[in-house]
Amino acid sequence: MGDTMRLTVGVGLNIRTRIIDTEDGVIFDKTDKAHSFVNNFAYFLKHCLDGIGNSDGRSITNAAVPVAHQGWYSYSGCCGNYAGMDALGGAGDVTRGIVVGSSATPFAIAQYNMQALIGHGNGSGQLYYAATPTTVVPVFSDPNITFLVSRDFTNNYSTPIVVREIGIRGNPVYAQGNVYTATMQYCRDVVPEMTVGPAQVLNVQYILRTVM
């Protein structure tokens, strides 16, 4: 099938990573192409289009515990659910929004989790997760139509922490004989190794933008 056709337009996804030092300001600023979307996102997108969910028998996979579920849920009873990724996390929430990890395992579209999630906190091996978004409000920048999701991660411990992977998670509705929510991974990217020193802040932005 000709889906190997090289595409040049559509929606692009970039990652911008910055490290902010409390004394020296921005000491690292880099933007890269994202690989990002994993199978769960595609299943979700298809559900949004066909309104059926498990229409072709594929399963979504829970990030927290790798259990396959039947599909996204769509309901039309007296009350119900609407499809949303629920990907805006509050401070300390590692189940929603942008998350970071330490594994450099290459991206694969079948992945359903961070390979080595860095937990939230102020202790050893942890980063403090701010809310998503934080200081950067998602905006549309005409005419290119951009929106971004942003999150700050602060190292409040006394030793550096290395970040090699980032991703986006959410808690959408899925169907498994009934209706539940679970943590699902939508995106994962391996980024150049970044060392976040004590008292430094890592800011990560996912930037979606139309490409015409």
């Binding site: 595409l7 933007t31 289009l49 066909d50 594929r58 609407y82 139309t210």
Partner: protein, 224 residues
């Protein structure tokens, strides 16, 4: 218009792209013409709905209504009006929970429904990402200047390496007495509002003679 996201400083294949393929069948059902190209435009509404999806969650439980206040998006509907949508569509219900919900932007048009799913039109005005409808949609029917829209079909997704494809297609037939030329196609969806998320101009335009039909397929491609 930037060819690539300005922040990147380098070109790359879009993470979400689309391909359209138009197959014209003659009156005997034989393939007469195939047109295939990269789809040129996810329009503004698509990005707005993506933003909606990222920002919002779900509603659950009849007896313990836990509706979070939706973070609405401004969608330009097919009439050109800016409407705030939460991505759900209303299908009735009863008090005190009068709303029913489904997918965020559903394209499952039934036979005869030219307001949802793949649609075609006659306007060759170039695409911009501000487009919110086809320039001149060809309505459903068997009268002059009309085409017969079949149901929208969703084939199973396919995965090849890190590329995942979502196929959508629709058969549209000319059951009138005269040829009909179409020069644009698009994808109409319903989710809180009726909206267009994709539009493409077909050049040269395609002629469908009486008794002929065309299968229009969009394949949304996710590149990992």
């Amino acid at each position: 218009m930037d060819k690539i996201p300005a922040e990147s400083g380098s070109t790359h294949t879009p993470n979400i792209g689309a391909i359209y393929e138009i197959t014209v069948f003659d009156t005997e059902g034989k393939v007469k013409q195939v047109v295939k190209d990269e789809a040129k435009c996810f329009v503004r509404n698509f990005l707005r709905m993506m933003r909606y999806l990222f920002r919002n969650g779900f509603v659950l439980n009849c007896n313990n209504w836990v509706l979070p206040p939706p973070l609405y998006e401004d969608i330009r509907n097919l009439a050109g009006a800016i409407v705030q949508t939460s991505g759900r569509f209303l299908t009735g219900g009863s008090n005190p929970y009068p709303f029913n919900y489904a997918g965020a932007f559903v394209a499952d048009g039934a036979a005869g429904d030219a307001g949802k799913g793949i649609v075609m039109g006659t306007d060759a005005t170039p695409v911009t990402n501000d487009d919110y409808k086809l320039g001149a949609i060809i309505p459903h029917g068997t009268g002059a200047g009309q085409m017969s829209y079949d149901v929208v079909a969703f084939a199973p997704m396919s995965i090849a390496g890190n590329v995942l494809t979502i196929p959508i297609s629709r058969m549209i037939a000319n059951n009138t007495a005269n040829p009909i030329t179409f020069a644009e196609i698009g994808l109409y969806t319903v989710g809180g509002a009726s909206m267009m998320i994709l539009r493409d101009v077909i050049s040269p335009a395609v002629v469908i003679n009486p008794g002929e039909a065309t299968l229009i397929a969009y394949r949304i491609v996710l590149n990992g």
